[in-house]
Point group: C2
Chain length 198, copies 2
């Protein structure tokens, strides 16, 4: 392993990952969702795109060996390993201050959107779009009538999902601060972003 970046509960962290390098999102304590984002280093207006990925793989979420593509339909990430129960989401937007206001929160609340923007600002890339995230470990099934259900994550301590970067990219992992709906079992905890040797 090259680098382990601790992601405190409710915060985000990032890394510049070279093409061919693997990286891993780790749920350290279990039942914790992570929002993963990937932006092309050469041009962050190109990023991992949920709606283009669904067309590319013909599924709601890629399987092991399948790829995420960008809004220019270029492969940017491949899933290479998944030790979690395999429940992930690409349907729901990153939480943001308005989401918490609408849920009744009166004061400031950490959010994946602000976590992303903070990390990308630190990379000197404050002007990014906020894409639909790759919501790892996030258990939001589509029911038979087309409705969605926000269920607690099924991950156990140490579960991880590993990707290989197909392009040089900024990768951001936000340990989702959601504590109103049940996706983090109402107890947001820390994660880790491990950048492995290629």
């Amino acid at each position: 392993m090259v680098q382990r970046i601790e992601v405190p509960a409710r915060e985000g962290r990032g890394a510049l990952v070279q093409a061919g390098t693997r990286f891993r999102a780790v749920d350290v304590e279990g039942k914790q969702c992570g929002d993963v984002f990937a932006f092309c280093a050469a041009n962050p207006s190109e990023f991992a795109s949920a709606e283009h990925t669904r067309v590319s793989c013909g599924r709601l979420f890629p399987r092991i060996g399948e790829q995420f593509v960008t809004n220019l339909r270029r492969p940017i990430l491949t899933i290479v390993e998944d030790t979690s129960p395999g429940k992930h989401d690409m349907l729901v937007a990153a939480c943001d201050p308005t989401r918490y206001q609408l849920l009744g929160v009166q004061s400031w609340h950490a959010s994946c959107q602000e976590n992303l923007q903070k990390v990308m600002s630190e990379f000197g890339r404050a002007d990014i779009e906020v894409p639909q995230p790759i919501n790892v470990f996030t258990n939001i099934p589509v029911l038979g009538d087309g409705s969605l259900d926000w269920r607690p994550a099924l991950t156990r301590p140490g579960d991880s999902i590993t990707f290989r970067a197909e392009l040089d990219c900024y990768v951001v992992l936000s340990a989702c601060p959601q504590d109103i709906v049940a996706i983090n079992d109402k107890n947001p905890t820390r994660m880790a972003l491990e950048v492995l040797d290629g």
Copy 2:
């Protein structure tokens, strides 16, 4: 009715619609998908957002009486009537030149993305993002294993879906030029955008 805008096969057309006004996407000949986009007139960086709408309505697609919200989580459109069989999509990206290249098309091919960009340029708004469209009449079911299936539209001639604008917005309808996969029964045809009195 105030205004009926004919949308030629494979092309796009738009209108500036005031809050409170209804408008309708019409499949004139049947089995034709339309890509609908809505951008706030005051600030086109705010637009109808699939991933925020799914959170707001708790479904893959809103039902009659339910709303589409923007990337700032404000209601922008409400579905008020639907005379079609009710199969619509918000999962797959607008087709674009790269989509057709990847499908084996060697030369230029019309696309919903270029149609959108052309219409918005004519409104003096060339710098928009290309959002995930509201793919009306588009029959792409999610199967039990999470896979998607590109099926022919089920619409009959004259079927329509009617929205009410909740904000002043630019509305664009692209008559999808897709003729490689089956969603338009491999025969793209014309549509109409009807702007009704409020």
